[in-house]
Symmetry: C2
Subunit: 285 residues, 2 copies
């Protein structure tokens, strides 16, 4: 991996962070952003070694990384699929996988698709907020297409390790989207819904840590998250309804003054959460 040339298309928070880390690690990085000034800033800061337009970048790169909105990635592949270097690998950091994977499976191309999804981010966006440490210890999901060879998958997993990720897990596009509906999209539904009330402003001086945490990601990028939600709407609806059922159990217990059931739910959840945390700590030691 370290001798390969990487092209990063899109230099926002995530793409910029990937660029910074890979360049910092001595890897040759080509960059591009639809905002010319962003690309110049990336070049000046040393996050990328060269700016090239997409058709030239993908022709030169051994690994191309798409770091853009879901629809942008689809459009990019459609526009530039014929320019990719023969035998190169296409990966991405897009939060939804089925549409891109389906497209890549359906076309003849010189590249092989091995999708990626870093479980890391910030409430702010843009290259100015990018950091070479963004992925340190983060979970990272790798989603190879059926055409990818083991050695091609290993190249991407090697890159992910260079980015600093903690646990790396392989899965399919469909499973990825099912899982992510629960672990990433539902928390955003919750944060937004928690703030979608006049109580937010009225009770501002009465909040504590639990409120701040639950609502931290409420300031979503509207365009990006509307795309992510719509592209995964059936799976997101399913986990949201599952969550609503769990809420209903607590409501029922409250309505019936059923303290015992409430305590049973709390005790079971605490046990499960502790199990998960101890597994995670094992993974880190």
């Amino acid at each position: 991996m370290r001798n390969l040339t990487v092209a990063i298309m899109g230099l926002g928070l995530i793409g910029g962070s990937v660029a910074k880390r890979l360049s910092y690690e001595g890897i040759s990085v080509i960059g591009y952003d639809i905002d010319e000034q962003t690309a110049k800033n990336a070049l000046e800061s040393g996050a990328i070694g060269e700016i090239l337009p997409p058709q030239e970048a993908v022709a030169k790169a051994d690994v191309t990384i798409l770091s853009m909105y879901p629809q942008g990635a689809i459009d990019f592949i459609n526009n530039y699929k014929d320019y990719f270097k023969k035998g190169s690998i296409l990966t991405d950091v897009v939060g939804i996988k089925t549409p891109i994977a389906t497209l890549c499976d359906s076309i003849e191309a010189n590249f092989v698709y091995v999708g990626g999804h870093p479980m890391a981010g910030k409430e702010v966006c843009g290259f100015d907020n990018a950091s070479e440490y963004l992925f340190n210890g983060a979970n990272y999901i790798v989603i190879p297409s059926s055409k990818a060879s083991e050695s091609q998958i290993l190249i991407i997993e090697d890159m992910v390790r260079i980015l600093g990720a903690g646990t790396i897990t392989r899965t399919t596009p469909q499973q990825h989207d099912e899982i992510i509906a629960y672990t990433s999209q539902l928390p955003h539904v919750i944060a937004v819904s928690m703030c979608d009330t006049p109580l937010l402003i009225r009770h501002n001086h009465f909040t504590g840590g639990s409120f701040e945490d639950v609502t931290r990601v409420a300031k979503v990028n509207a365009e990006l998250w509307a795309q992510l939600f719509m592209d995964n709407k059936d799976k997101l609806l399913a986990v949201t309804e599952d969550f609503e059922k769990s809420i209903s159990k607590i409501k029922e217990a409250l309505k019936n003054s059923d303290t015992q059931t409430l305590k049973e739910i709390f005790t079971k959840v605490k046990k499960d959460k502790e199990l998960v945390e101890s597994e995670n700590n094992k993974g880190k030691s």
Copy 2:
């Protein structure tokens, strides 16, 4: 305030943290805990200057602080109300106010009740986790009874400032409980419900910051939170149903592939959240 003697009944995470800070600030602190070893540890660490049983502690203290479960506080007042020093102030750190305030209003006693609720905590409990810095910058709610004089309220607010709290807000018991249903109890309903599913364990290696944040407080103390929820069940049910309506708006937009509505919700919430954050930052500068 600094010349008064304070008695802290209950030396867990919150009571222990209050004790540490007040002693650190040179205030004379009497302590008691139903667990004898906890009280001894507090004495040895210097968090309290003296251990006294409740009837002696409340007879000597100018300010008594109840730091215990809601039902424990009710029982304490019923058991020891006749022992309090004449003209002393009773405060507490209990997360629900109407039951205690109603009791205090209904009895003849030597003390006056000025309730308190620090919006601070940890996912762990007990004296060993107590910290003199726990309340630094935290919101703190003060809930005076109708019998409290302005000078008595100011004594408690002075103590709250000594604890290091940021914004101090006065309100009534009923308003407190209505607000807290939204700002504290609902986030706990959400965290628990988010974890009350087999998906929690199945998808453990696919989580990111948004998931960790939303579920941080899921490991609730079952006995304590069952009491807090039950004592406030009507108000908690009301805000939970309000939250469910906000979720339903997102679900409807998804079902109808109504990207425009989704973006409108996101944009409105982002604006409101930014307004609230800028107000909070103003309060800190």
